[in-house]
């Protein structure tokens, strides 16, 4: 049991779970403003936070669970590029929509 608790993988799981709950908090009350009947809108800060947290979560899964951390340079570059390109685009399209 102590081995599990001191395991780096368990730390990653704790961080992933905790950041998920934080992300959920940003996406739900109390940061929610109804803009029209039945619609819901989060604040700009929440949108940035959600994208950033998702980026970090994906990074943790890739680097520490999928072992990209110890992978060849090309794979690390591809994954890094994907993280920033995808979440940057997602946030940009979200802002464009508003």
């Amino acid at each position: 049991m102590t081995l599990l608790v001191r395991n780096k993988l368990t730390l990653v799981w704790v961080l992933l779970s905790g950041s998920t709950v934080l992300s959920w908090w940003f996406g739900t009350t109390p940061n929610v403003n109804a803009v029209s009947a039945g619609a819901v809108q989060i604040t700009a800060v929440s949108a940035v936070a959600i994208c950033l947290i998702a980026l970090l979560k994906c990074g943790m899964v890739l680097w520490h669970f999928m072992e990209v951390q110890g992978a060849p340079t090309w794979l690390r570059l591809v994954c890094t590029a994907w993280l920033y390109a995808f979440f940057g685009t997602a946030l940009g399209l979200y802002v464009w929509a508003q």
């Binding site: 081995l3 599990l4 001191r6 395991n7 780096k8 993988l9 368990t10 990653v12 799981w13 992933l16 779970s17 998920t20 709950v21 992300s23 959920w24 940003f26 996406g27 739900t28 803009v35 029209s36 009947a37 039945g38 619609a39 819901v40 809108q41 989060i42 949108a47 959600i50 994208c51 947290i53 998702a54 979560k57 994906c58 899964v61 890739l62 520490h64 669970f65 999928m66 072992e67 110890g70 992978a71 060849p72 794979l75 591809v78 994907w82 995808f86 685009t89 997602a90 399209l93 979200y94 464009w96 929509a97 508003q98």
Partner: protein, 197 residues
């Protein structure tokens, strides 16, 4: 066995510059990430063109199920990573148990998803309801299909660990890599479809 491996503090026993599993699984993973990325970018364009409709429909999603399912898959990923670690330490029995737990988490995800869908359908919210729900069912449906594929892989990995005289590390890594990908894709779907509203 190295002390680092037995202490369980880090994933040991692999060379630097090593890609877990085989190249083929990584081609599949990267390919899938590209496809899902494109799908979600298209989703965001449609969202921008129909903002009010999307916002109203997104408000109808169950945040409880979304959060729960995300935590379930993160946990399944954790089990998969621990299984790889145990297998590298030569503890195939423990690795098999962890693969089973990973699979059980995947099954739980499927059950929650099925319940979530049937609840939505019961409210009259189907794939044809509007643009948003079309995307919602297609994205989560395609993802669910991947979860089921992953479960099939995990059964093979479990059998390898239980029955093979010398379980192949590459097989365990392939199963784990696919499981992690399923988790990764859901993290993105959860953020963009459930939370980004």
């Amino acid at each position: 066995m190295t002390t680092a491996a037995t202490a369980g503090v880090d994933i040991g026993g692999k060379r630097a510059g090593h890609v877990p599993g085989e190249r083929a699984i990584w081609l599949f993973v990267l390919g899938d990430m590209v496809i899902f990325s494109a799908y979600l970018i298209i989703y965001l364009f449609y969202r921008g063109w129909n903002l009010e409709q999307f916002q109203q429909s997104q408000a109808l999603l169950s945040q409880r199920f979304g959060l729960l399912n995300t935590l379930v898959l993160i946990t399944s990923s954790w089990f998969a990573a621990l299984a790889v670690q145990a297998a590298r330490q030569g503890n195939h029995a423990r690795a098999a148990n962890l693969i089973a737990l990973c699979g059980a988490s995947g099954i739980l995800f499927c059950l929650i998803k099925t319940f979530e869908w049937s609840s939505k359908i019961g409210q009259g919210l189907t794939i044809e309801t509007d643009e948003f729900f079309g995307f919602y069912y297609m994205l989560t449906g395609t993802h669910l299909y991947h979860v089921v594929m992953g479960l099939g892989l995990l059964v093979m990995v479990w059998r390898e660990l239980k029955t093979a005289a010398q379980p192949r590390m590459s097989q365990v890594e392939i199963g784990a890599t696919f499981s992690h990908m399923v988790d990764l894709l859901w993290i993105v779907i959860y953020a963009l479809v459930y939370l980004l509203r």
